[in-house]
């Protein structure tokens, strides 16, 4: 069965550093997403990406964040100048037939 993959599984970074979270969506999907889940809280939408551009973004997705699809397979989330409150689980997802397939997540810890 096809699956969404994410790397790394766990990233530890110091406050103020830049991080790039990587995702490989399912190959024939067209819509890609990033979600965030702060420990103990609900899953929150960050951004959706379609046809090589952002189609929707939430209030959380400010200038600190950016997304990119640098080639035909990878989908990245960049967080510039990380803050303590960016510590969370970040999930990538891609959509097929109205069901979003989620990756296993990257746990980001900002110290």
């Amino acid at each position: 069965e096809p699956e969404v993959t994410q790397t790394p599984s766990h990233q530890v970074t110091q406050m103020g550093q830049e991080v790039i979270l990587r995702c490989v969506p399912i190959s024939n999907h067209l819509y890609f997403y990033w979600y965030r889940q702060i420990l103990g809280q609900k899953v929150e939408f960050l951004v959706s990406f379609y046809n090589n551009e952002i189609s929707e973004k939430s209030e959380i997705f400010d200038d600190q964040f950016s997304v990119e699809r640098p080639d035909g397979s990878n989908f990245t989330l960049k967080i510039r100048s990380t803050k303590l409150e960016d510590s969370a689980m970040y999930f990538c997802a891609s959509i097929g037939a109205y069901e979003q397939y989620f990756g296993p997540g990257t746990r980001l810890t900002v110290t």
Binding site: L30, Y35, K42, E56, F91, I95, Y98, Q100
Partner: protein
């Protein structure tokens, strides 16, 4: 706008007892409905989904859910829970159009007591 309410943040239940996890939603448009399960330190796994047709949908691990349009609910049920069902359960909705984001509830932590 869409929103999802899961009123029960924690549900303890004894092994082999039945369980119902409640989900209500609010939406100005027609939606698709989903339940996801998250085991500790893992990602989101789809339990079941309602797209159309029969309002009673069956999913993996013996779970089922019933869509009630008049009550805008999509409660999840299992007749007999197992220890391995201990996890966080999230209800989610998305508008009936491709490419829309999913809106998640705050989750229900199910703890099965031996």
């Amino acid at each position: 706008a869409q929103s999802v309410t899961q009123l029960d943040s924690q549900v303890p239940v004894f092994e082999e007892a039945p369980v119902e996890l409640r989900c209500n939603y609010s939406s100005s448009v027609s939606v698709y409905l989903f339940w996801y399960v998250q085991y500790p330190n893992q990602g989101l796994q789809l339990l079941l989904k309602y797209l159309s047709g029969s309002t009673l949908v069956k999913g993996i691990n013996g779970f089922e859910a019933e869509f009630n349009k008049s009550q805008t609910s999509f409660h999840l049920r299992k007749p007999s829970v197992h220890i391995s069902d201990t996890a966080e359960y999230f209800c989610a909705v998305t508008p009936r159009a491709p490419g829309n984001q999913f809106y998640f509830g705050t989750g229900t932590s199910l703890t099965v007591i031996p």
